[in-house]
Symmetry: C2
Subunit: 245 residues, 2 copies
């Protein structure tokens, strides 16, 4: 077995292990590597690609984390059987919709600086009594209401503008502002729609909603955003992939 054709470009700024991981992921997605197929051994791959074994291992580990392949000591590496789905990465709803080929639009209901509610201060790790930016948006997909999103951000962040919020997702704006988001803690639940929520989302009162609260931190470990989102359960669900290390 020689596996798919993979070539690395040493002059590229993209790390070698990442190039390898991406090409393997693409080969799996394409079907060049079918579910159950064995990959070459790490030593064979290292030899064939002209890379060291740690680099190859790093690439493969990346794919294991994404739930694409499985390794067994003493045996080898195989592609996971069955169709592969994309895991929820650290993306915003806006980006997810664009990737799925839909056309998101956003209506900004509120954008103001307000006194920070105690629960938000606790979530963001801020001292009580301060101020935060408060944001309420209604997100549409292909013209249909999909989600009602409420967010709080520290005031020392770059100020948000209506125009930017209507064109892009919140995370894209923050990233463009030099704020690199590195992780988030999320809680996912469900509850019934209130009358006001139902009216805005085009559901009936009491309709099931998917709820998610998320607190995201940046590369300094500082909490950057706290959000409470509700989604129409009839039109949206979340995907998560878990892999053991």
């Amino acid at each position: 077995m020689t596996g798919p054709e993979i070539a690395v470009d040493r002059s590229s700024p993209v790390p070698l292990y990442f190039q390898v991981a991406e090409q393997f992921a693409a080969a799996i997605q394409r079907g060049d590597l079918a579910p159950g197929d064995r990959l070459d051994s790490e030593l064979q791959l290292a030899d064939r690609l002209g890379l060291s074994r740690p680099t190859v291992r790093q690439a493969i580990q990346h794919l294991v984390d994404k739930g694409l392949i499985v390794r067994r000591r003493g045996v080898g590496t195989q592609v996971v059987r069955g169709e592969v789905r994309r895991a929820v990465e650290l993306t915003s709803l806006h980006d997810d919709l664009v990737r799925a080929g839909q056309r998101p639009s956003t209506s900004v209901l509120e954008l103001a600086t307000v006194a920070c509610p105690p629960a938000v201060a606790a979530a963001l790790g801020l001292p009580p009594g301060g101020e935060v930016q408060h944001l309420r948006r209604l997100r549409f997909s292909d013209g249909e209401p999909l989600a009602l999103m409420e967010n709080w951000l520290p005031v020392d962040l770059p100020r948000l503008t209506m125009a930017a919020l209507q064109a892009d997702g919140l995370y894209a704006i923050l990233r463009a502002g030099g704020r690199r988001i590195r992780g988030a803690h999320q809680r996912i639940g469900a509850r019934a729609a209130t009358a006001a929520e139902a009216q805005m989302l085009g559901e009936r009162r009491g309709a099931p909603l998917l709820t998610m609260t998320r607190t995201a931190y940046d590369d300094q470990g500082r909490y950057v955003e706290h959000g409470a989102h509700i989604y129409r359960a009839s039109r949206y669900s979340l995907e998560v992939t878990v892999a053991e290390r």
Copy 2:
């Protein structure tokens, strides 16, 4: 800064990087390392612990993946601000409840070998027309109904017994049977309870339910279990931690 006292035991079968990661995680949980605190640099740590830098890096990467700390190139490593929550790992509901100090109990509603529904065959990657083990359970926590769980497993797996299912979680039984589960794809959503579901869960018809379908694969990349679970949204929610890289 010298950081918390950490010592490794080279005679232990536990990998060194794992020992280091666990002790740092414990120090963070204890509060010895406060949110925002800087860790020693990788070189300092390697020197202090008598380990190589790759080993220290592996330990730290583990903590980054768990969302406990953040690294910044050229700057250093910091503990994530704010309280830390445990991520949903690859555990069953049963184990989660035990860890939370509650007393789960299980009532097995159905345990039989049935013709495999097409949707399940697709999820498990089985040829259509075969047979599968089918399982329906009602899970209680401290005597209160919490979740209705329906699972399908290939027939070539070890046969399940009523007694085992009432005492332990499904994953614990599979692991004890030598089946190592390595990862899972999950989809999380919400919907309204049917009359029958509401009656079993002690909710009203139309009450919001949190739904999760999960397909788990073992160390050979074979799908081992497909489950469709519904939870009382009023009593249960899921936690997920996402970290980049």
